[in-house]
């Protein structure tokens, strides 16, 4: 990264700060993924709950009619 030839091992070494730099980037990636996945899971949960409520209301109205 000093203008001389690029080397991957030097890149991953991060001038001796590898632990700090890569754990920062790793954590950021993890948090991004969690933020993408959790609303998708939440959506499934909400849809399930609404479906249950619909089914419950249908049973209640049938019970009232009979």
């Amino acid at each position: 990264m000093n203008g001389s030839e690029f080397s991957w091992s030097e890149f991953f070494h991060m001038g001796g700060y590898a632990v700090f730099v890569w754990s920062s980037y790793g954590l950021a990636l993890g948090i991004v993924l969690v933020n993408i996945v959790s609303p998708l899971i939440e959506r499934k949960r909400v849809v399930k709950r609404v479906k249950r409520a619909i089914a419950r209301d249908r049973h209640a109205s049938q019970a009232n009619n009979s």
């Binding site: 730099v21 920062s24 950021a28 609303p39 709950r49 609404v50 409520a53 619909i54």
Partner: protein, 249 residues
């Protein structure tokens, strides 16, 4: 005239309308967020030069600074939404606030942890009780407080009112975070970008920083819409349009 504008606002802020529009909007935020994120990472890790004082460790700022900006930006969005919800009783605004809270808390957490990962090699300590760090930690607790109030109060309207008030009062913390590095003697370095004269930063370092910040904003926009849509479905679950829609899913 005012009546017309009000009617227009109410129509466009109706949860049903929002649900339809936001579904179409999400990819327009998500795709640019992804592309800019990749570009910003490339610029930050491969193109930006080594810092002559901090060596390679400074590359943490391409994560840390955007995360810290987002932690405050999202809080302000939440506070404005909560105020709109309280004053004009616009339900959608309360949903935006509720949808923002976990995202803001994650960004705050990321800012705190990456800051301490940068502080260890630079200051020799993961944590110090200085003004910038402490006020940012209080921000995290404000997010937690909001979420705790939201989930602990059964009645949705009461929950929105109580948690909304907390967020609005907590806004006082935002200028404290921002000016903490000027008001107090702290270890944390002063502003290098958000100040009135020219940013004191090399352009090759500034570009990835700003690209990452923009990517983070777009990412938030996409995720907050996804979360707000969930809020709409759940809070409007007794409405016919939600039931018709859910049946098809």
């Amino acid at each position: 005239m005012i009546k017309k504008i009000w009617a227009w606002i109410q129509r466009f802020s109706s949860p049903k309308h929002f649900y339809a529009i936001s579904g179409k909007l999400i990819p327009w935020f998500a795709v640019p967020a992804f592309l800019l994120g990749i570009y910003g990472l490339y610029m930050g890790l491969f193109v930006a030069p080594t810092d002559y004082q901090q060596g390679e460790s400074y590359r943490i700022i391409f994560i840390h600074v955007p995360a810290a900006w987002m932690s405050m930006f999202i809080y302000i969005v939440m506070a404005i939404s909560a105020a709109i919800g309280l004053i004009w009783q616009i339900k959608l605004a309360d949903m935006i606030a509720a949808a923002s809270a976990p995202i803001g808390a994650w960004f705050t957490f990321l800012a705190l942890v990456t800051g301490s990962l940068w502080g260890k090699p630079m200051w020799g300590a993961y944590w110090v009780w200085d003004a910038r760090l402490t006020s940012e930690l209080i921000l995290l607790f404000l997010y937690f407080g909001y979420m705790a109030l939201q989930s602990s109060i059964e009645d949705q309207r009461t929950a929105d009112k109580a948690s909304g008030l907390l967020v609005i009062v907590g806004v006082v913390n935002i200028p404290i975070i921002h000016y903490s590095v000027e008001w107090w003697n702290t270890l944390h370095q002063g502003a290098t970008v958000a100040k009135f004269d020219k940013p004191s930063m090399h352009i090759d370092m500034l570009i990835p920083l700003l690209v990452m910040a923009l990517a983070a904003k777009l990412f938030y926009a996409a995720i907050v819409l996804m979360r707000a849509r969930n809020e709409v479905l759940y809070r409007e679950r007794n409405r016919q349009w939600v039931r018709d829609l859910v049946k098809k899913l």
